[in-house]
């Protein structure tokens, strides 16, 4: 039972973490893939600055660019923090009290009121007209779509200006060159992020959190090896039992096999159970605590959905990283007992 619990705990820790990391990486890649090729923001001495919408036409003229679109969006601090996106497709409210809103905030229901506080501290009361499907929670868990005019008002964005410009290009390989060209074509300093840079930034952030998680995982695996080794050696009683079995004509391999079975059967069951639990937790129960910790979310939507395509490889890696040390930790003491001289083993009694 101790062995089962030890292997189960370590596999659950490794499995949940690795599944989240692998699945988030694949999911992030997909999200970045369907997003803009380049995002251009204006910067000045104070950092980010609103970008004039008229630059969109200049950007479109750059060779290699197939489309450019000004975006109005921003973060509204508070609890919960809101990512506000201005949606030109939403009708502007006749009165602010009847403004439309689309959200994926957990618990939001159509028809519910939602009061948003702008960056100047003034509140706007809106009505939720549609709730995004729960499957979008991975990217839209804190997103609120509002009419573009409302977004400008809340984000203090002047008319004729946008947050940034989303650019579509023909070939990803040329994004770096296109980015330089865009920067040259505009008359002010800009910061441009390509897909590759977005992926890199995301992986760096995920890698940092993954590294912290490994700091917990590695000692857990080492502890597991100690537990398995202790159980597989079986103590003085196991030596006497091995001696008795050899007295009865059991070979060294017969004795070693019994010790290995005793260690590996519960370990195999524990690994299988833990991997199933990890899979269900990560992909069917909203990511679980591992996802919350690794992604730095304060809470997760129950419908938090990640891509499962990386799961088989991740599961195999976890199974191997637990079972191989377990096998070695079981094999060494088992072999030591099994190869000992029977008389020496029996004398222990």
């Amino acid at each position: 039972m101790l062995l089962f619990l030890a292997v189960f705990s370590v596999t659950l820790l490794l499995g949940s973490g690795l599944l989240v990391l692998a699945a988030v990486e694949v999911t992030a890649d997909r999200i970045v893939e369907v997003g803009p090729s380049i995002v251009v923001s204006r910067v000045d001495a104070g950092g980010w600055a609103p970008i004039p919408i008229e630059v969109v036409s200049s950007v479109r003229k750059v060779r290699g660019v197939t489309g450019a679109r000004a975006r109005v969006w921003g973060i509204l601090p508070g609890v919960p923090r809101i990512t506000l996106v201005g949606d030109p497709a939403l009708p502007e409210p006749v009165e602010l009290m009847q403004g439309g809103i689309v959200t994926a905030i957990p618990g939001a229901r159509e028809g519910d009121p939602l009061e948003l506080t702008g960056l100047d501290g003034r509140s706007v009361a809106l009505t939720i007209v549609r709730v995004l499907p729960p499957e979008t929670a991975a990217v839209a868990r804190d997103v609120v779509f509002v009419p573009e005019g409302v977004a400008r008002q809340l984000l203090l964005l002047p008319a004729g200006h946008a947050t940034d410009v989303a650019v579509a290009t023909i070939r990803a390989e040329e994004d770096a060159a296109v980015t330089r060209e865009i920067a040259r074509s505009l008359g002010f300093p800009v910061r441009a992020l390509t897909r590759e840079q977005m992926r890199g930034a995301f992986r760096t952030q995920l890698g940092d959190r993954g590294g912290l998680w490994l700091l917990f995982a590695l000692p857990a695996v080492l502890g597991l090896i100690l537990v398995v080794g202790q159980i597989a050696s079986g103590g003085p009683n196991a030596r006497v039992e091995a001696g008795r079995l050899k007295l009865l004509g059991w070979t060294t391999w017969d004795v070693a096999r019994i010790h290995l079975y005793e260690a590996l059967v519960p370990s195999g069951l524990a690994v299988t159970t833990a991997l199933v639990t990890s899979y269900v937790g990560v992909f069917f129960a909203g990511g679980g605590p591992a996802a919350a910790a690794l992604l730095g979310f304060d809470r997760l939507s129950p419908a938090f959905t990640l891509a499962t395509s990386a799961a088989p490889l991740a599961l195999m890696e976890v199974a191997a990283s637990v079972l191989l040390p377990t096998l070695v930790a079981a094999l060494v003491p088992a072999a030591r007992v099994a190869t000992a001289d029977p008389s020496e083993l029996l004398e222990a009694s």
Binding site: E241, G243, R244, L245, K246, L247, L248, G249, W250, T251, T252, D254, T339, D341, P342, S343, L346, S349
Partner: protein, 220 residues
């Protein structure tokens, strides 16, 4: 054929447990080693069983030098040897039947062995206690369980250390008859005993006396 050729067992402290012992035991033959406790009988049996190596000399079984076998071959040698040790080495939490069946577990399943195990328990008046954990049995019953365990594979060699030590006259007689039947089917039987009942009950057995690790020729 079991042949001990000048077998000696000397401890690291220099104490000789067995000194220059030579004897033979042919198939179908019963050889009794008599002698007081501590005379070296059990040590000699453990050397013949391949449980320990002699310091010098060798044990040859069917022309093969057991003493020089690798660990694996000595394992296989023990599979052909039924051993009733003085300390019975039973698994106390297992039932009598499970203990008797233990030597058969590494082998391929054979219903005949299971039948033989049950028949042996019946013959040795252990049928009614076969399902009970060994720890709940009396000393005499435990010894008969170990005896049945030594016979379950019908081995060509039997090494029995004090097989009647904890038995009453009636049951000691039953064990003696069983030993004779094992010899009659061709097993080489080497018995260590200081029970005069056993020695008297096997008048046709060849006898050696051990004293302080040495085989006394005068007792043969």
């Amino acid at each position: 054929m079991i042949a001990c050729e000048a077998v000696s067992v000397v401890l690291a402290t220099g104490v000789a447990l067995v000194s220059e012992v030579s004897l033979t035991c042919a198939p179908g033959e019963i050889v009794i080693l008599v002698g007081a406790s501590g005379s070296g009988k059990s040590t000699l049996l453990s050397v013949v069983a391949g449980l320990r190596r002699p310091t010098s000399g060798q044990v040859v079984v069917d022309g093969q030098p057991v003493s020089r076998f690798t660990a694996h071959h000595r394992d296989l040698h023990r599979r052909r040897t039924g051993v009733l040790p003085q300390h019975l080495h039973l698994f106390e939490e297992l039932s009598a039947l499970e203990n008797v069946l233990l030597p058969t577990l590494p082998l391929s399943p054979d219903p005949a062995r299971s039948s033989r195990a049950r028949a042996l328990l019946e013959e040795l008046e252990l049928g009614r206690v076969g399902a009970r954990p060994v720890r709940t049995l009396s000393g005499g019953e435990q010894q008969r369980v170990a005896f049945a365990r030594a016979l379950v594979l019908a081995p060509p060699m039997l090494l029995l250390d004090e097989p009647t030590a904890h038995q009453d006259d009636f049951r000691a007689g039953a064990l003696v008859r069983r030993i004779e039947r094992e010899a009659a089917r061709g097993a080489a039987v080497l018995v260590a005993a200081h029970d005069p009942r056993l020695v008297a009950a096997l008048p046709r057995a060849r006898r050696y006396e051990m004293r302080a690790g040495r085989l006394s020729e005068s007792a043969e």
